[in-house]
Symmetry: C2
Subunit: 146 residues, 2 copies
């Protein structure tokens, strides 16, 4: 047999993550969102319902504000977000999802859920649910302590 050790935990996370992303963003393109890319997820996951500032989003996403500004700018060019001056702070701007942005966000959730169910058909919906549960615990453990 192979002399290589067992797969690392990182490998076990990486493969499904990459396969899912490939499927997800291909599906998104098919559903009318061709120019939304994986990196943009940093925007969708950090923007708030009523709009957010670039710096805040950058901090939540764990990237620099320059990087976040770059991503936001590209989504603005595609019409998924609007950028307006912040009424309370002359330095700041407020980034908000447009209708197209909300529609895209909804499509991401829908396709994600669909794909999760598809995976469940492979390993069993019950095991899939258990997997999600364990991953949620793991994710929560980062926020709690650390």
């Amino acid at each position: 047999m192979a002399s290589k050790p067992t797969k690392t935990f990182g490998d076990l996370l990486r493969h499904p993550y990459e396969v899912m992303n490939a499927e997800l963003y291909a599906g998104l393109a098919d559903h009318g969102f061709p120019d939304v890319r994986l990196a943009h997820s940093a925007v969708f996951r950090t923007i708030e319902e009523d709009g957010s500032r670039i710096s805040d989003m950058a901090e939540r996403a764990g990237i620099t504000k320059q990087s976040m500004a770059y991503l936001v700018e590209s989504l603005a060019e595609s019409g998924y977000v609007s950028i307006d001056p912040d009424p309370d702070d002359g330095r700041a701007k407020r980034v908000s999802l447009t209708d197209a942005g909300f529609a895209c966000e909804a499509a991401i959730f829908k396709l994600s859920l669909r794909y999760e169910r598809k995976l469940g058909e492979r390993i069993g919906q019950r095991r899939m649910k258990e997997l999600r549960h364990l991953l949620e615990d793991l994710n929560n453990s980062f926020e709690t302590e650390m």
Copy 2:
């Protein structure tokens, strides 16, 4: 409460994956492998004990041979792999891990295992083991069918 839906499965995979990688490659730098980066893992995971060809590694990793050549070249410059002509095929080259390359691979496994145990301390070693098991099943389900 928030009106945002539950985290997607992709989000649940992404966060631990990114946190682990940050920890892993920081640790790797501390252990004397400062110039090994995440992208290089495509080399370490696809290279065989007795050496491999660039095209084969590219195919296994799911990237173009140009991209694999780029990664291999950068590891060769740092001394982790050697590149020799293939004795059986005048077109091809054989890429092999050097002693430093094997040492790095070993360090990756050691640090990964250490981190996995650390996560286990957070959510429970037993739950962590179950999580690994489910992820292994999920990974296997890609190779089997699809």
